[in-house]
């Protein structure tokens, strides 16, 4: 056994199952970087929130070196921090900070999601579950439309020369157009012709998610080698058989990779699609409402909820990808 030869210091590591040591080797640089970012965030709260914190401390009776909030308004935050090092305790616990501290965001996130669920108000209007679900349903509908359309278009492009030459350049050009900019117009116009609710948002999501799928699927459907296509030709396979038995299976790894990009884009589309509807419901609406009323903690918690949602969706597709590819013998 190879482990027997390692010196005593390495013995503990050698006894661990391989995947744990591999995972920890990959994980600890990430932990270092994330810890560094959190520390930077806490540090950044000090100058960002110094003015409000000092105002609050002054109201509480403390003596601040230039007296009165008006005096301090035009001073630099750094000068205030240096001048009043003892009175800055409130920078991490303000009500409406310019930059909320990580633990404030985390507790808001917890209180408006799991906390409310524990009280039995999981689907109340203030619960993040409600808003996340509104956004998620538009995301998934748009993703399904976009991915389906993308696959169909890719099949057409691969099988039809005229379509390949005329559609592909426009599909690429369509992505240099900042489509999110049209989002408000699409929503308003569709509302005026009576289409409202889920579908307009889903259409924006679909537009954003179809492109990565088209590009990857065209690449994937063309990935079989000439020898493989020739083999099917010697079997006198029809075009349909070649498609189902060779091209489609060969394109699956490309397909799943593009789905990960597509679902992230789809979520962004759904969030932006919620902005012009007057902030009714959804994570985008939470962002907008938070920015109207200066509720920074709410903005940040909506932002993190969106991030968690995006990460979960991408991870879910990764899981499906691994299971499917393993079943098909395409992955180790």
């Amino acid at each position: 056994m190879a482990e027997a030869a390692v010196p005593a210091t390495g013995a503990a590591r050698a006894r661990m199952p391989g995947w744990i040591s591999r995972a920890s080797a990959a994980l600890w640089p990430v932990i270092v970087v994330v810890a560094g970012l959190v520390a930077f965030w806490y540090a950044a709260c000090v100058p960002m929130n110094a003015k409000e914190a000092l105002t609050q401390a002054e109201r509480g009776g403390a003596v601040i070196s230039p007296e009165g909030a008006g005096e301090r308004r035009d001073m630099s935050s750094w000068a205030l921090v240096v001048g009043n090092p003892g009175e800055l305790g409130a920078v991490w616990s303000l009500d409406r900070p310019r930059l909320p501290a990580p633990h404030q965001v985390a507790s808001e996130l917890w209180n408006t999601s799991v906390g409310m669920a524990l009280e039995g108000r999981m689907w109340s209007n203030r619960s993040l579950f409600t808003h996340a679900w509104v956004t998620l349903s538009a995301t998934l509908l748009g993703f399904a439309i976009g991915a389906g359309l993308g696959v169909l278009l890719a099949v057409g492009i691969v099988h039809n020369r005229a379509m390949d030459m005329s559609v592909m350049p426009w599909a690429i050009a369509s992505q240099t157009i900042p489509i999110l900019a049209i989002a408000p117009m699409i929503i308003v116009v569709l509302n005026s012709v009576g289409v409202s609710g889920l579908l307009p948002k889903a259409l924006i999501s679909a537009y954003l998610s179809f492109f990565p799928v088209v590009v990857s699927m065209v690449k994937g459907l063309r990935s079989p080698q000439v020898a493989q296509l020739d083999l099917l030709h010697t079997y006198s396979a029809t075009a349909g058989q070649t498609f189902w038995k060779l091209r489609l299976p060969a394109s699956l790894p490309y397909f799943f990779t593009s789905l990960k990009v597509a679902i992230a884009a789809s979520l962004v589309g759904a969030i932006i699609g919620e902005l012009p509807t007057g902030a009714v419901a959804g994570l985008g609406a939470r962002l907008l409402a938070g920015s109207y009323y200066g509720q920074t903690v709410q903005i940040w918690s909506a932002l993190f909820a969106a991030a968690i949602l995006a990460a979960a969706l991408v991870a879910l597709i990764g899981l499906v990808q691994r299971v499917v590819l393993r079943r098909m013998g395409l992955a180790p």
């Binding site: 990959a26 640089p29 990430v30 932990i31 270092v32 970087v33 994330v34 970012l37 310019r98 020369r161 005229a162 390949d164 030459m165 005329s166 559609v167 592909m168 350049p169 426009w170 050009a173 992505q175 240099t176 157009i177 900042p178 489509i179 999110l180 900019a181 049209i182 408000p184 117009m185 308003v188 116009v189 005026s192 012709v193 990960k260 990009v261 992230a264 979520l267 962004v268 969030i271 932006i272 902005l275 012009p276 994570l283 985008g284 962002l287 907008l288 938070g290 920015s291 200066g294 920074t296 903005i299 940040w300 909506a302 932002l303 969106a306 991030a307 995006a310 990460a311 991408v314």
Partner: protein
């Protein structure tokens, strides 16, 4: 131009489709007939091949779409508050070039371009530092690719709150959006030079800096430009969307949201045309620089 002989199956299918649409609406039959004729023209050009076909087919396809749009709006008398005709948009574009230019300068030149430059340089600097320290690189790469997949554009309300309504906040949103794609691609690219090439530099007794400038940066350029190209669209999106959260009374995002409110959709489409042209030109410019810088790469030859 010698077109393909009209084949029987195509004619039959076309005739069937036109008859079918005529059952619903005569106007629909006209649109279908025009579409089929132009598609036939396009297919014959594509099948004939030749060096010109690569450029002619997409142009014909684009013109077909615009013609069908114009026809459909005219025949069905679609109200302009829903979908203005291309001719109306072109007319609006022609008479309001000064407003469009002011918006373009505010959003694209001041917001998007400056943010793009700052974000790109910052990402490049961080990537160089990360490249020196292995821990940082192995930590930043997964964190960076995770961040690149997040809805960063959601930070727009926060950054508008911090940096005010003018272009500085738009540039800040653009910085946040372009930073991670460029960072991830640069870090990845700096590892692209293979061991043999590094060994060669080592036998030349090249210093770290010399290896970086003469070998690893040039080798990283295709990756860096990949990030830069992805970021062109993101920059424009960031600058426009940030204006939805507050802006001075000029700018493409401001114009789009106010003109939508006034149902002046021809102006909105003119603004979208500007955005499309600016986006394509920006992408094209970066792609041109790429071709000039990475002339040695297989994909450019």
């Amino acid at each position: 131009m010698n077109v393909l002989p009209l084949r029987m199956p195509y004619l039959l299918t076309a005739g069937f489709l036109i008859a079918l649409s005529a059952l619903f609406d005569l106007r629909l039959a006209v649109v279908t007939a025009v579409w089929l004729a132009l598609w036939y023209l396009n297919a014959s050009v594509a099948e004939r091949g030749g060096p010109l076909a690569r450029y002619v087919t997409p142009v014909i396809f684009g013109l077909t779409l615009i013609l069908l749009w114009e026809l459909a709006v005219g025949l069905f008398q679609v109200p302009s508050v829903i979908l203005p005709a291309p001719s109306a948009i072109a007319a609006r574009f022609a008479v309001s070039t000064d407003i469009l230019w002011a918006d373009f300068v505010q959003t694209f030149v001041k917001g998007a371009l400056s943010g793009y430059a700052i974000g790109g340089l910052a990402a490049f600097a961080v990537a160089l530092v990360a490249d020196r320290y292995d821990v940082l690189r192995r930590g930043l790469l997964p964190v960076g690719s995770f961040m690149a997949a997040l809805p960063i554009v959601g930070t727009a309300p926060i950054l508008v709150m911090w940096f005010g309504f003018d272009w500085e906040s738009k540039a800040a949103v653009v910085v946040a959006m372009v930073f991670f794609p460029i960072l991830v691609n640069t870090v990845e690219g700096l590892r692209a030079a293979d061991a043999m090439q590094r060994d060669l530099m080592h036998t030349y007794a090249a210093t770290q800096g010399q290896t970086l400038v003469k070998l690893r940066l040039p080798a990283a350029m295709p990756f860096i430009f990949n990030g830069l190209k992805i970021s062109t669209t993101l920059a424009l999106i960031g600058a426009i969307v940030a204006e939805f959260f507050g802006s001075p009374t000029v700018g493409m995002g401001f114009r789009i949201s106010t003109e939508v409110g006034r149902l002046a959709l021809d102006m909105v489409w003119a603004e979208i045309l500007v955005a499309a042209l600016a986006g394509s030109a920006f992408y094209g410019a970066v792609a041109l620089i790429e071709r000039w810088v990475t002339f040695w790469h297989p994909s450019q030859r």
